[in-house]
Symmetry: C2
Subunit: 205 residues, 2 copies
């Protein structure tokens, strides 16, 4: 099979589809918003840092510029419709929380940017750098705290994200996360370790 | 359900698990390498730009520093074992291409960094910025060309990534991309559009 070569596009895939929570002091009290971002990624392990890219026309851009903080909220499949909605409508015109049935709750370690009660997990981020790149401004956010829904902690105190019902975004389509095919290091694992861990993944343990 | 809050970690999920191709002029001719990266993301639409974060101890770091270019190669599930292997072994010690059965081929628009013949898609990237962030150096690569396996082009000249058999990485586990749950804009689509597009996604058209 051969490659067709063509002009560039943003085809890295799959990418996350996450909700970005933002907030700031408004003219008559605190305001807040949710925006969907697929242009998001982990960029450093230590300090743990994520990147989120936002168009300057967005309300979320205005709020992050004011407060210097944001949340990265991982939605599950039950939140898919609302997550899509938060990517196509503006928080300047309506309250997307109530429209989507998403309950804003305080995010640990932040002053303004909210978490969402219905989501499996959120990351509280403080902006460390901002880089204008063209259509988008990229924010590098250090993860200062995080919140995990208690049912996702297993009995050893580890986080089991396989139970979270997350989904991915692939060139315009939202896909459920399917079968667990392997784990980091599976290609060099001893046969008994491979057997035990794959069996655990298949049975959801 | 309530949140357990804890110290930060790199829990953004799912993220891509991609192969980074690199190359440079060595002491006795051109050299090249493959490395797996989950710390990768799209960061700008125009110009189309990706970020890839690499530890300075990596051979790939040395090659990108020399040549200023890299490829982002999207593997499919048939490449999973090799993709894992390229994340745990060093190209300083062995040729990961032959070890994994990955055939290096020239990447359109680049001089040294290779694509992989077996992969569904690759992005040719030129380094525009490098940012040392701590454990990792983040490279911002402008996508200058891309190559798509010809069977992924549909009859209208569009790219159908749903056929590519991609997988995602979620907190240490590789997951197949599962059921198509929706498309960008599905929450505000007219009923007939929603019906038609979801039916197309389900039947793989």
């Amino acid at each position: 099979m051969s490659f067709i070569t063509m002009k560039p596009g943003t085809l890295l895939s799959p990418v996350p589809a996450v909700l970005i929570g933002s907030g700031a002091e408004g003219e008559s009290g605190p305001v807040r918003n949710l925006m969907t971002a697929a242009w998001a990624g982990t960029v450093c392990s230590d300090p743990p840092t994520v990147s989120v890219s936002v168009r300057p026309s967005r309300y979320t851009y205005e709020l992050i510029e004011k407060s210097g903080e944001f949340t990265v909220i991982l939605p599950d499949t039950a939140m898919l419709r609302g997550t899509d909605y938060c990517g196509v409508r503006s928080g300047r015109e309506e309250d997307k929380f109530s429209r989507c049935g998403f309950t804003p709750v305080p995010a640990d370690g932040l002053k303004y940017a909210p978490a969402v009660a219905e989501a499996p997990l959120y990351l509280s981020c403080l902006v460390r750098q901002r880089l204008p790149l063209g259509s988008h401004v990229m924010y590098l956010g250090e993860i200062v705290r995080m919140g995990i829904r208690e049912d996702l902690m297993d009995k050893n105190g580890s986080i089991d994200l396989q139970k979270a019902g997350l989904f991915a975004y692939s060139h315009g389509v939202y896909n459920a996360l399917g079968e667990a095919l392997g784990f980091f290091g599976c290609s060099v694992a001893a046969p008994d370790v491979l057997e035990r861990r794959m069996s655990g993944l298949r049975s959801g343990k």
